[in-house]
């Protein structure tokens, strides 16, 4: 057996509906700050396309959600969905981590979201970032104390 064969798992239509409903519950829209919800068309398409190494845990989470909800999560009424999602979140663990990663990594790189949280929508390279000037006088008390290393 080798672990180097990472499984690829495609979601069924029903699982997509569930994941989309859950994404909207996790990160809803905030019109006051022009933030879309995580089930926004572009963001959700990115989530689905980027599941990668988390796909099997996300599917396991969706199955767990169905079991908690007593039916297909994506087809339930909003109140029942919210109750099941809260129970899943409270359980925590690797499935919830995978879900959180899957939703957050696509949501927080969307241009609209980046702008709304005060960032330029660009990669770090090649522009980099500027940092504030240094005040090395902060080291004065450390210097004043003298050497602390232990002779051996």
């Amino acid at each position: 057996m080798s672990l180097n064969e990472a499984p690829m798992t495609a979601l069924t239509d029903a699982q997509c509906r569930s994941l989309r409903a859950l994404a909207a519950l996790m990160i809803p829209a905030d019109p006051a700050t022009s933030m879309p919800a995580a089930d926004d068309d572009a963001i959700f398409a990115d989530i689905l396309a980027s599941l990668g190494r988390d796909a099997s845990q996300v599917v396991a989470a969706l199955d767990a959600l169905d079991a908690l909800a007593g039916g297909r999560f994506g087809d339930l009424a909003p109140a029942a969905q919210a109750a099941a999602a809260a129970r899943l979140q409270a359980a925590g663990g690797p499935m919830v981590l995978a879900l959180t990663r899957a939703v957050a990594q696509s949501y927080y790189r969307d241009d609209r979201v980046m702008r709304a949280i005060g960032l330029e929508p660009r990669p770090p390279f090649p522009q980099g970032h500027a940092l504030e000037p240094n005040d090395w006088s902060l080291l004065d008390p450390v210097r004043a104390r003298g050497p602390i290393w232990r002779e051996a």
């Binding site: 996790m26 919830v96 981590l97 990663r101 790189r109 504030e132 450390v142 290393w149």
Partner: protein, 532 residues
């Protein structure tokens, strides 16, 4: 390829690069076999908008999650601390943060000073010239005059304090504790053709700017210019021996999975604290039934990690967030033994900056600070860019029951048995972690944090791999002698973190590379009598 080479190095990481470069001036025929690829800076995550996502995938620290075909799997079911590495030219330095502290004089003499573990067979003074040479080759930024060290001269000015460093330094001054700008293997200015740091904030995904000194851009180009041959996608299965019990070469798989043999006069292992014992244990013969160089039974034992505590706080004022190198300042206030603390030896605090927007969301949601649903956005805005903190690097003492063995079932893509790691956190480490969390919390509060959290031990933090082929003068208690040569096999050397006798409370790579230069120098001075 069946020609006999003079020196065969296995592994092109931190140590492999350093020893290849140093031995090159002998004009011997030197070949290095590396299972991974050359990296391209234009492929590193920080070139793209998905930089945080790619760090969670093909640039993940953990080989089992990363699962490139150049990786090998590791059974880590029986350790609370999971392995972090990278397999390719540069090895772990591709992903390392570039914290580059030296050991202290006391770190080589823990038995004499504190009555624990063993003294090293060498001392700080012996290594000092090799530390200095390595600093020049690597390009170390820092500030001379650190009161926690004997005098040393970094070759470039320190990395910026930024908002996070200023906040934390203010807290440290309020506590009256030591701190100093960290020695970093990151060029703060242009250095030897490498560009200076531009604060990309993503050192641990590989440095697209080329400011971080991974060995693929420091030692390896120089070694290759000097005539060393580096073959990538060559995975070594075992070291073979001849009738005299000397290493005769290695069996490896090439890029097409074809089994090959390379004969060599000298074999040098540089595969890190897990990869090296794995090869030795897999090199079984009639003469060496328990693995090569293992008459002491110490191969694969005494694995040390450095248990990490991560302590972080949220502040009202904005901090650096994802801007700037993770490295900033350190404190060695609690480095040396003080028995009244309830543990022996000590730790370094290394202060970090903050998180990118995705990581801020993930940790916020997973720690319950950022809710699902209504309230998500308000909580996120309050926390994003407002976090900073530190890690504590605790000295891990060697214990024989912490091991690397061969997994009976799991194999890599070439069918070579995978390593299995078995590790228990010691009571001494637990107490040290608790102390670090308590002191870290104090300093964050003194700096003005209104909300403090921690994780100890840090589960993902198995990035320092040491002790599994320890150095010593007694062949019954150590694997290699005081200059890296196997006690059992006189033409076999080990130069990676496996040879560490103790771990100190600092990151190991500066010492790994200085040791590799020292072993090379020892070999060169004994060339005529190398196998005696």
């Amino acid at each position: 390829m069946v020609d006999t080479v003079d020196v065969l190095i296995i592994g092109a990481g931190a140590a492999g690069g350093a020893i290849a470069w140093s031995l090159a001036d002998t004009r011997m025929r030197i070949v290095c076999l590396e299972q991974g690829d050359w990296m391209k800076p234009s492929d590193y995550p920080s070139n793209g908008r998905d930089w945080e996502a790619r760090q969670l995938a093909e640039f993940h620290y953990n080989p089992n999650r990363r699962a490139r075909d150049t990786d090998y799997p590791i059974n880590e079911d029986d350790t609370p601390i999971k392995i972090a590495n990278f397999n390719g030219v540069g090895g772990g330095t591709i992903l390392y943060a570039g914290h580059y502290p030296r050991f202290h004089p006391s770190d080589f003499r823990v038995r004499s000073l504190d009555g624990v573990a063993d003294d090293w067979p060498i001392d700080y003074v012996t290594l000092a010239p090799f530390y200095a040479e390595n600093d020049r080759m690597t390009g170390v930024s820092g500030l001379a005059g650190d009161p926690a060290y004997p005098p040393k001269e970094p070759v470039m000015p320190p990395l910026p304090l930024g908002r996070s460093g200023t906040t934390l330094a203010t807290g440290l001054n309020r506590m009256g504790w030591h701190w100093w700008p960290s020695d970093s293997a990151i060029a703060s200015t242009e250095y030897e053709g490498r560009a200076g740091c531009i604060n990309l904030g993503h050192c641990t995904g590989g440095c697209a700017q080329g400011a971080k000194a991974s060995s693929d851009i420091t030692y390896w180009p120089a070694a290759i210019r000097a005539g060393v041959e580096l073959r990538t996608r060559c995975r070594v299965r075992e070291i073979t021996v001849n009738a005299e019990g000397m290493a005769s070469g290695v069996v490896y798989y090439d890029a097409d999975g074809v089994e090959r043999f390379q004969a060599a006069e000298v074999v040098i292992l540089a595969c890190n604290g897990i990869g090296t014992p794995r090869i030795l244990l897999n090199s079984v013969s009639g003469r060496f039934p328990n693995g090569l160089a293992n008459s002491s039974g110490q191969v694969g034992r005494n694995l040390m990690f450095h248990p990490y505590a991560q302590i972080y706080g949220y502040f009202d004022a904005p901090q650096d967030g994802h801007r700037g190198p993770g490295n900033c300042i350190w404190s060695q206030e609690f480095y040396e033994t003080d028995q009244s603390r309830g543990f022996v030896r000590g730790y370094t605090f290394e202060f970090t900056r903050g998180q990118g927007p995705v990581q801020a969301a993930i940790t916020g949601m997973m720690t319950g600070r950022i809710p699902w649903g209504a309230g998500h956005h308000a909580a996120y805005r309050k926390l994003f860019g407002h976090r900073t903190g530190m890690v504590a690097i605790c000295e891990d003492l060697p214990e024989e029951h912490n091991t690397v063995t061969l997994d009976p079932v799991l194999t890599d893509g070439n069918g070579i048995p995978a390593p299995k790691v078995t590790y228990r956190l010691s009571e001494n480490s637990r107490r040290m972690l608790d102390h670090a969390v308590a002191r870290g919390t104090e300093v964050l509060r003194a700096a003005g944090a209104h909300d403090v959290g921690h994780e100890a031990p840090l589960a993902v933090g198995g990035w320092h791999l040491m002790g599994t082929a320890r150095m010593g003068t007694d062949p019954e208690r150590s694997v290699v002698n005081e200059w890296g040569r196997s006690h059992d096999v006189k033409n076999l050397f080990v130069v990676d973190g496996s040879v560490f006798v103790t771990s100190a409370g600092v990151n190991p790579t500066c010492t790994i590379q200085a040791l590799a230069l020292y072993v090379a120098d020892s070999m060169k001075r004994r060339l005529a009598t190398l196998f005696e």
